[in-house]
């Protein structure tokens, strides 16, 4: 118990870094993903092709490799970002690719009748998208999006590999320095706690958005 109290400050500092990365990523992803999704559904052919390529590559390769690539290989092309910026870039590009696909599927799942009713009422394409389709899409993709959001938190454990001292790294260092597994267990508890909180939060959000059902 005393030992736990001793390591807690270090682990909490790591947790702080994990959370900082997490929040930044989450805030940036949605706008990007929505734009990509709309581009994929109704953009010009060339844009569709480019976006297809983007989602294909970023969904088809491991996040860890992308992280290494952004960190170690980008400097070869003259792009040197801070470790934090690298992590954010790799994560945002990766998760936005997944999220864009979710949103695209959401848009395409909206009943054709909704477009028709809007058209019969004289609404333009953009009015229809903004007022009718997107709001319903948001509701529909919410569960999948929340799922993604929770996975993302657990993925932050990977940032330890590019010199950031997140929760995972702090725990690891403590374990290897003290030859005790308690830090792992405390880290487990932290991750479990945070993801459970996230699950709760997102469930509330879903409930809020489901008033019309």
């Amino acid at each position: 118990m005393e030992y736990i109290l001793e390591i807690l400050p270090v682990l909490l500092k790591g947790l702080g870094i994990s959370l900082k990365i997490y929040v930044t990523v989450i805030v940036l992803i949605l706008p990007l993903a929505i734009l990509v999704a709309i581009g994929k559904v109704s953009g010009p052919q060339i844009l569709k092709k480019i976006l297809h390529l983007y989602t294909w590559i970023w969904r088809g390769t491991p996040l860890l490799l992308q992280l290494f690539f952004v960190y170690y290989a980008f400097p070869y092309f003259g792009i040197t970002l801070s470790p934090f910026a690298c992590v954010i870039l790799a994560f945002v590009l990766n998760i936005a690719a997944y999220e864009a696909e979710i949103i695209r599927a959401g848009i395409e799942s909206i009943d054709k009748g909704q477009y028709e009713a809007a058209k019969a009422l004289g609404m333009s394409y953009w009015q229809t998208m903004r007022r009718i389709i997107i709001p319903q899409t948001v509701r529909r993709v919410l569960p999948a999006t929340c799922n993604e959001a929770i996975l993302t938190f657990k993925d932050t454990a990977l940032v330890a590999t590019v010199t950031l001292g997140d929760l995972m790294r702090s725990a690891k260092e403590l374990v290897f320095a003290d030859y005790r597994i308690t830090p792992f267990i405390v880290a487990f508890a932290f991750y479990l706690l945070i993801s459970s909180i996230l699950v709760q939060l997102f469930a509330k959000l879903e409930k809020k958005y489901s008033i019309y059902e």
């Binding site: 009943d111 019969a120 009422l121 609404m123 007022r131 319903q136």
Partner: protein
């Protein structure tokens, strides 16, 4: 008011409308009847551009709004005027197609506000008027999911009416309803008839068609094969296919 001339429509290789012509005058109520798959919905949808026609001419109030294929008429009006003309048509669907994320009021004020740029206060006034007409003022804040089928369809009618259409198109407005709920929707349509609304109704409700319409059109395999007043239609149809159909239905 509306004149559809020699309309052809294909879905891929399927020739769904094979030269259908129909004229509807102001204040007239026309029922379209026919077996499933005969092209009734498609015909109605061609009228308000939910489907593009492959050949033929659509005229609304003397203005050619669509002309396709090998025809002499051309669309001469400005796109703006064409759009304005289409707005004179309200449409009610079989599956209501209400906007599920908006309340009843939200559904009805949406188009006046976004399309006509009516301000919110005025839009709500219009909406309340129309909802009163369909008898749903008390449900104004409910979401569609909380309504019965009949109530939903009445909201859909109010929503279309809020755009002040001069002609209403109905595509089987009661066929998704439980038998007990059909009455309340037909009641509303009868009210519109009493107000001399021009209407085109695709329906399976024979008694309704007989009672209300000025003319009945029977479609089969993409063609109109009978077109006459209801009495003649039900008592002395000239076409064998119609007789067979009526036997089955009644």
């Amino acid at each position: 008011m509306i004149r559809m001339s020699n309309i052809h429509k294909y879905f891929g290789d399927l020739h769904v409308l094979k030269g259908v012509s129909l004229e509807v005058k102001k204040g007239e109520i026309v029922s379209i009847i026919g077996p499933s798959g005969s092209g009734k919905s498609t015909f109605l949808r061609c009228m308000n551009q939910l489907e593009k026609i492959d050949k033929g001419v659509v005229e609304i109030e003397g203005m050619v709004v669509e002309a396709a294929g090998d025809v002499t008429e051309k669309v001469t009006a400005f796109p703006k005027d064409v759009r304005a003309t289409y707005r004179k048509m309200g449409m009610v669907f079989q599956n209501f197609n209400l906007f599920p994320h908006m309340t009843v009021l939200g559904n009805v004020i949406e188009a006046p506000m976004t399309v006509n740029k009516t301000d919110k206060v005025a839009a709500i006034e219009i909406a309340e008027q129309q909802l009163a007409k369909v008898g749903l003022l008390d449900k104004i804040d409910a979401y569609p999911s909380k309504l019965s089928g009949g109530q939903r369809q009445r909201v859909a009618i109010a929503r279309a009416l809020a755009m002040k259409p001069e002609i209403m198109l109905f595509d089987e407005p009661t066929s998704a309803l439980d038998p007990e709920l059909v009455g309340e929707v037909l009641e509303v349509i009868k009210k519109l008839a009493a107000d001399h609304m021009t209407m085109l109704v695709v329906t399976h409700e024979m008694s309704f068609a007989r009672e209300l319409s000025h003319r009945i059109v029977f479609m089969d395999e993409g063609e109109i094969i009978e077109e006459c007043p209801p009495q003649q239609f039900f008592e002395a149809p000239s076409h064998a296919r119609v007789k067979l159909f009526l036997e089955k239905m009644l």
